[in-house]
Subunit: 263 residues, 2 copies
């Protein structure tokens, strides 16, 4: 409240060049988008390959040193993965080898909020929210930081799920789980909301106006009725049911408010 | 019918190492996933940057030389973008410079079909479908191929939308639109479906069984009621309304069939 909003500095790496007016560099916006994403796409360059690789992974922003930090503060991105995966092998080499900084990665997420259907195919668009982060990834070695990150990531899937699942973790579970910490170097986000926009010559084209449907179709991710598993004995708890309902409601409201936004 | 199913050869680049039993290399499966994705994440290495970059873009698989090719045939990926964007600048250099092969890219898409909530946090999972393609991107120069790709990509957003929008495109529209063609080098997809799976020791843990809800929560993308724009004069046409309904129905059925899949 009243505090300035921290931003990632605009540099060559994170600068949004096309439709710069749709960009934001505010930490809070970017971190919120990352944390509300069920999957993140993580890109890195494996050794001896001409191609960058993208893997879908689960992650959450957090601060082990200051767990009470807010979304608008400088945070690390914790990513869940497996020791045997390509990415972590690269990460291991990077953290033990010549590059103490870690493996350079790019992390991206995108939500489609609606189809924007214009008279001209070339004025079609999406309402969307996308974010990208750049940083250096290293394996988390400390037991306490690993536990912190595993709770953070589990609660990112369903809030409060960690302490409501079987506790404590077994030694084998902790042992076999790898967590990457990404130190953020920069980031940006890009948004589009609002209705259709056509060119003047199309708005005067009676043929087009009388034949082409124009408008916005809201798109949002929904959670269906939870399906209890074969050995479930428990009523669906409130922390879970409330979250499932909120998930759908918030996504729908986001899509509708984007569609109805007036410039 | 009866024909063998083409697969991308397994190589170091596209091999799925973790949970290899969930992988598929079938062109038809991979291409279908790409074509049903509203957004793709495209990763490439810009010059003079330590980080790979991911951009969200729109694209569709197709064959300009043989437009009747099916999804299981070898196809190119056509991506829509802007001349001024970083990616296309890199692509331009690549296609005019020393690397005639084009710019190496990785393209990824992921759909979450459900949350899989187990007794142990470590056995939590998603039902999901993800695909990745590797290839070389060059700018499409031929006018006819550009028109082919623009129709393909527009119809990927809403089938039949191209011929139902204002036609023909103006010279300026075609001029200002850039299309990348990605020649595919390899690819793979990864799926998870089915219910919760816990370890034996947890299935004998009365405490956990009597306190932790377990099951699957279906997740699917939905289209809401279309919102006509301020200058719309047309009833929502059938090609559009049918697609919007199908989109939600198919996604919901996919999520439910994944959740209810028995091993």
């Amino acid at each position: 409240m009243g505090r300035y909003e921290l931003e990632y500095p605009k540099e060559a790496t994170n600068l949004v060049k096309r439709h710069g007016e749709r960009a934001t560099y505010a930490l809070e916006k970017i971190h919120s988008l990352i944390n509300s994403s069920q999957l993140l796409h993580v890109s890195f360059n494996p050794p001896n390959s001409p191609f960058p690789v993208i893997l879908p992974m689960i992650g959450q922003m957090g601060s082990f040193d200051r767990p009470s930090a807010s979304l608008g503060d400088p945070l690390d991105l914790y990513i869940h993965g497996y020791v045997s995966s390509r990415m972590f092998n690269v990460g291991r080499t990077a953290s033990s080898g010549e590059s103490a900084e870690g493996m350079p990665v790019c992390v991206a997420t995108s939500h489609v909020d609606g189809l924007v259907l214009a008279l001209s195919a070339f004025n079609h668009s999406y309402n969307y929210r996308s974010a990208v982060l750049f940083g250096h990834a290293t394996l988390v070695e400390s037991h306490d930081e690993k536990m912190y990150a595993m709770e953070l990531i589990t609660d990112g899937v369903v809030p409060d799920r960690w302490r409501n699942s079987r506790q404590p973790p077994t030694g084998a579970e902790v042992q076999s789980t790898s967590i990457l910490r990404i130190k953020i170097a920069s980031g940006s986000a890009k948004f589009r909301d609002g209705g259709v926009i056509d060119d003047k010559h199309d708005l005067e084209n009676e043929d087009a106006l009388s034949s082409v449907w124009t408008g916005v179709v809201p798109v949002y991710s929904t959670m269906g009725k939870p399906i209890p598993g074969p050995y479930n004995r428990v009523e669906l708890p409130k922390y879970a049911s409330e979250f499932f309902d909120e998930f759908t409601t918030e996504n729908r409201e986001q899509a509708l408010s984007a569609a109805n936004k007036k410039d």
